[in-house]
């Protein structure tokens, strides 16, 4: 076990040493990997921020529940009790029909017209906020309330929420596609890197094979190299993205001062950061693995000379 750990430590050390031997080449490929990763990571963070802003700016979607005009007080109390018990309802507000009429008079400036009405045409109503404000669950709640007795109409203004959701979803899809493309590019970069490494260390590989090294032993430093370079690219991308947020926040600080509102972009969260590093290391490893498999085979000493 200690020997095995020692071997892994040596592989890691020799990997780091090979960084040291060709610092310019290593730095350049880390740079390329970093930029390739920074682009989708930055866009992802932008969309995340937009989603966050959208949630903050718009008032949360509400459901208006209108009772039948001739609903009795007891029937209204019954609906109120149901709302209180429903776990999907976050809170609700009862708007009696008299109050609704008063509000209408004040708000719309059609007081004369309202006064001329022979009787109050407005029903009693509840304004309900849902626990979960995603369009699906809002619709489900609306459909549920619709079934209750003496409920005349349930209105849900979910169109804007759906539209915003669709736009952001499209944005997420675009980011995912871009990320996939750049991930392929990253794997290709690493493939080529490792190919060059294998070529320059041909003698070493051949000797190691001749004296009984397993393929795993030979591949290990290359795989470490790929994973480390990918991870370094991830670190660079992380720095780039967060530096951009920092710069943007400095500008936004002034803007939000002028508008007396607080706009601040969020930095990358811990989970996202770790995900970025893990993914970049995995992509580097994958590129190295593909390359090393492809290029070690022709180095078999048993191929006839």
């Amino acid at each position: 076990m200690r020997a095995w750990l020692g071997h892994h430590a040596r592989s890691m050390a020799s990997t780091l040493a090979s960084f040291g031997r060709a610092p310019l080449g290593a730095a350049l490929s880390v740079l390329v990997a970093g930029i390739a990763l920074a682009l989708p990571a930055g866009l992802y963070l932008t969309i995340d921020n937009l989603q966050n802003a959208a949630r903050g700016l718009a008032t949360e979607p509400q459901i208006s529940v209108f009772m039948a005009l001739d609903a009795s007080r007891a029937e209204i109390a019954q609906i109120e009790a149901r709302l209180k018990q429903n776990p999907r309802v976050q809170r609700y507000r009862f708007v009696p029909r008299d109050q609704a009429l008063r509000e209408l008079k004040q708000a719309s400036g059609i007081a004369d017209l309202v006064d001329s009405l022979p009787q109050n045409p407005l029903p009693d109503a509840f304004v309900v906020s849902a626990q979960d404000s995603s369009p699906q669950s809002l619709e489900a709640l609306r459909d549920e309330i619709k079934q209750w007795p003496r409920v005349a109409l349930v209105q849900l203004d979910a169109a804007w929420a759906r539209r915003l959701d669709a736009v952001l979803r499209f944005g997420q899809l675009a980011v995912a596609l871009l990320a996939a493309l750049l991930a392929v590019a990253l794997v290709a970069i690493m493939f080529n890197n490792i190919r060059l490494q294998v070529l320059t260390r041909r003698d070493e590989i051949e000797v190691a094979k001749l004296i009984g090294a397993t393929d795993a032993f030979i591949q290990r430093p290359f795989l470490y190299y790929g994973a480390l370079q990918g991870c370094a690219g991830g670190v660079l991308a992380w720095l780039v993205v967060n530096a951009c947020v920092w710069l943007a926040n400095r500008q936004l600080g002034e803007l939000s001062h002028l508008y007396a509102a607080l706009f601040q972009l969020r930095y990358m969260g811990t989970a996202d950061s770790l995900g970025l590093l893990g993914l970049s290391a995995a992509l580097g490893w994958l590129g190295a693995w593909m390359s090393v498999h492809r290029h070690l085979k022709p180095l078999e000493p048993s191929s006839p000379k």
Binding site: L210, I211, G212, D215, F217, P301
Partner: protein, 217 residues
Amino acid sequence: MISLSHVSKRYPGGHEALHDVSLTITPGELVFITGHSGAGKTTLLKLLPAIERPTAGSVVVNRQNVGAMSARAVPFLRRKFGLVFQDHKLLHDRNVFENVALPLQIGGYSAADTARRVRAALDKVGLLALEKAAPITLSGGEQQRLCIARAIVHRPAILLADEPTANLDAEYATEIGELFRSFHQVGVTIIIATHDQALLARLAPREIALKHGTLAR
């Protein structure tokens, strides 16, 4: 125990390096494979650690059929051998110590064990004082001794040497010969492909002579 029965080796392109060779080498034997260039000496050596595979016949090492061995098992077979190459195959980006340590690292020895065994092997071939030197700064004879140190550091039961004294002057060749004699005395099976007549005369080994890929006598 090494035995070849009716072994032929034909390279792609049609050249037949070995034709119907059968022989047995018992543990602890010192054997020279002799013959003109192109007689098949190197090919015969390469068959034993599965560097080449026979096209016909069977090669058996320690009751294992090497010719039919799976690629996964081959590395472990090769660790039973010590290989001395005519062109040394030293790694020039590492020093003397690191070159000799390579088989032990492959074999998974601990760092302390590795250092001890490497120094013992270097001491054996008289290079202990040069452990930090770069192989390129060594003389031809020293490079060959370094190659031998790497071949014996993991105490293999079988030592294979391909033209170990080629390119060496007589004095160095004598040193190398004495090294092989000392390994033979401690029970290592030694198989040397050579056409060095002086070495042959000094060590008085069993001789297997090849001629155009077949046993000459």
